[in-house]
């Protein structure tokens, strides 16, 4: 089948799709790059002169930039830690035969299908509100001072909300991987004198290494661009306590109407994301070619 003619025909036929996708990626990228070098503010009418590295300089030296980078890393790291460890735990529990497995699994997966804005609003108003929220009510009824989640521990609150959304994803992937583990291996380990912890550490965890890698890689890509949860709960505040890089770009381009500055931020975000990706690939890539 794979004759020379059929191969070149195949290439010819997929080329429009490839070109379309390439354009789709390249046009916005080039426009962002172009804007990032212009002095271009939507509030100022007139020409948009070339500004050199000015936008980059002001974006990076802005104190909120350092805060945003730190917040982004804490947010991604925190959510990754909670979802991977929690997902591992949930997957092991769900793997056991029990009554109503099907329904319980659907319930566990459900949060993943709730839109970020909706889930953040539900958390904000029904759980974390110090007066009307469930947590506040519980604290009050027990005689404690209720926590003002978004005032006192804003970043941690966002981490909780995002973790709630992503925990099901991690659980689902890890559960599937766990179910493909050969039961005879666990039995052999049991015969070999391995207790539960040793079976988990020496048999289950190495078996799950690949799935954990997938969870971490995919989640990192999405977590770097968390936005809706911040917009509907804290608006990046108090101060810059919950401003991540995505939100900072939004602030400069759509609240300060500074297209040039926003584009510069965008380019920096692209570079940072790629650095993170390279590190992750290096770090965990070893697991993938085992």
């Amino acid at each position: 089948m794979a004759t020379k003619a059929s191969r070149s025909a195949a290439r010819l036929m997929i080329s429009p799709a490839v070109l379309l996708l390439l354009g789709w990626m390249l046009v916005p990228l080039c426009l962002t790059l172009y804007f990032s070098f212009l002095r271009y503010n939507l509030l100022q009418i007139g020409p948009t002169p070339f500004a050199g590295w000015e936008n980059y300089y002001w974006f990076v030296t802005d104190p909120s930039f350092t805060a945003a980078i730190k917040n982004t890393l804490v947010l991604v790291g925190g959510v990754l830690a909670i979802t991977t460890i929690g997902g591992l735990f949930a997957a092991i529990l769900l793997d056991r035969p029990m009554f109503g497995t099907g329904i319980i699994r659907i319930m566990v997966i459900a949060p993943f299908f709730v839109m970020p804005t909706v889930s953040a609003l539900v958390w904000k108003n029904m759980f974390m509100n110090p007066v009307n929220g469930i947590f506040g009510r519980i604290a009050t009824s027990l005689g404690f001072e209720p926590i003002d989640f978004f005032g006192q521990i804003p970043l941690a609150s966002i981490i909780i909300i995002v973790s709630w959304t992503w925990l099901p994803f991690a659980t689902l992937i890890l559960l599937t991987a766990l179910q493909s583990l050969d039961q005879e291996q666990l039995e052999a380990a049991e015969m070999d004198g391995a207790g539960w912890w040793n079976r988990f550490w020496f048999i289950m965890l190495p078996h799950l290494a690949r799935a954990i890698t997938v969870v971490i890689l995919i989640q990192t890509i999405f977590l770097l661009s968390i936005f809706a949860e911040i917009l509907v709960t804290t608006n990046g505040g108090p101060g810059t306590a919950t401003t991540n890089l995505t939100y900072l770009i939004y602030v400069s381009s759509l609240l300060q109407f500074d297209v040039g500055m926003g584009s510069a931020g965008g380019v920096i975000a692209i570079i940072l994301a790629n650095i993170v990706a390279i590190f992750l690939m290096r770090m965990i890539g070893k697991n993938l070619d085992a």
């Binding site: 052999a188 070999d192 004198g193 020496f202 190495p206």
Partner: protein, 333 residues
């Protein structure tokens, strides 16, 4: 030491009784084979002994101590699984060392035992490979290595050769038999292949639907099967069962005669038409039709006989080799 005794052991999954209460005594150093058709409960019985399944009732004693409630790791038994159950992310060395590591043995002793096991099993050249890089037979040997380093009271084998090809199976069969002679440890071996059972066992336990049909040495089972099931299961090709008039002559409900105990010739009391002949070189198994006894009647002849399909031949059974069974299928002495 490795003496195992089952007393009135039974196993049920829900309402289904897989193994009705049974008694079994396994002596120290014996090679015992559990054999039976698929689903006869032989693997379940092995897992009960291993402790991977809980008994529903009865007790299991190992070396005179009640081990019914002892967890598998504490029973001092080692098991070789059908799928080998090697740990795919560990090297051969680490696989074999795993049980010792779990027992917190010191490193020098671990290295010594692993090296020893590897040389016994010809694995020294592959010691740093992972299971995925080994052939089926090598994997099998790693699984055995993992079992022998623990110096267990008894080895349990769950159909260990069923994933190997025919030639390798014969080789491994010999290796396991030799290992048994050398270690002189109790071995319990589960298989559905009666050839493996006959060639390896000191004692065969024939099971059907969870019930022990007969326990005995291979030759005992061959020469004096206790009932029709054992008679038909042990021996290849299968024994011929004849009912009706011919059986009446021997005052039995059914008589059985093995293919190797019937001679083919120009004269004889029985006669029939040659059907398919299976030539093995050393022997020829001939399926004979229209004998009026049973259809087909299987006969073993020497390898060099030349019969054609459709020939009429005469058969002479050896009178002293008839097995007689009553209506319930039990042997008449």
């Amino acid at each position: 030491m490795g003496q195992i005794q089952l007393k009135q052991v039974s196993k049920s999954f829900g309402d289904v009784e897989v193994i009705p209460p049974l008694d079994l005594q396994i002596e120290d150093g014996e090679f015992v084979v559990f054999v039976g058709p698929s689903g006869c409960g032989k693997s379940t019985l092995l897992r009960l002994i291993a402790g991977l399944e809980d008994v529903t009732a009865g007790s299991i004693e190992i070396d005179g101590n009640d081990a019914t409630a002892t967890p598998p790791a504490k029973r001092g038994l080692a098991m070789v699984f059908q799928s080998y159950a090697l740990y795919p992310h560990m090297s051969v060395r680490k696989n074999i060392a795993f049980p010792l590591k779990m027992a917190k043995m010191d490193q020098a002793e671990v290295d010594k035992r692993v090296a020893n096991a590897a040389s016994v099993l010809n694995l020294t050249d592959y010691i740093d490979r992972r299971p995925g890089q080994l052939s089926g037979g090598q994997r099998q040997r790693v699984a055995i290595g993992r079992a022998i380093v623990r110096e267990p009271a008894a080895f349990l084998f769950d159909e260990p050769l069923s994933n190997l090809d025919a030639a390798l199976r014969i080789g491994m069969r010999l290796e396991i038999s030799e290992l048994h002679k050398r270690l002189d440890t109790t071995m319990i071996y589960v298989t559905h292949d009666q050839v493996e059972a006959m060639t390896m066992a000191d004692k065969i336990v024939v099971l059907q639907a969870g019930v022990i049909e007969q326990v005995g040495s291979p030759l005992e089972l061959y020469q004096a099967p206790r009932n029709k099931f054992v008679a038909g299961f042990i021996g290849s090709p299968k024994m011929n069962f004849i009912e009706g008039n011919e059986a009446q002559k021997h005052s039995a409900h059914t008589i059985g005669i093995r293919p190797e105990h019937i001679e083919v010739g120009d004269s004889g009391p029985w006669k029939g038409v040659v059907g398919v002949a299976e030539h093995l070189g050393s022997d020829t198994f001939i399926h004979i039709h229209d004998t009026g006894l049973t259809d087909p009647l299987t006969v073993r002849a020497s390898g060099e006989v030349a019969f054609s399909y459709g020939d009429t031949i005469h058969l002479r059974p050896r009178d002293d080799r008839f097995h007689r069974f009553d209506e319930r299928g039990m042997r008449i002495a």
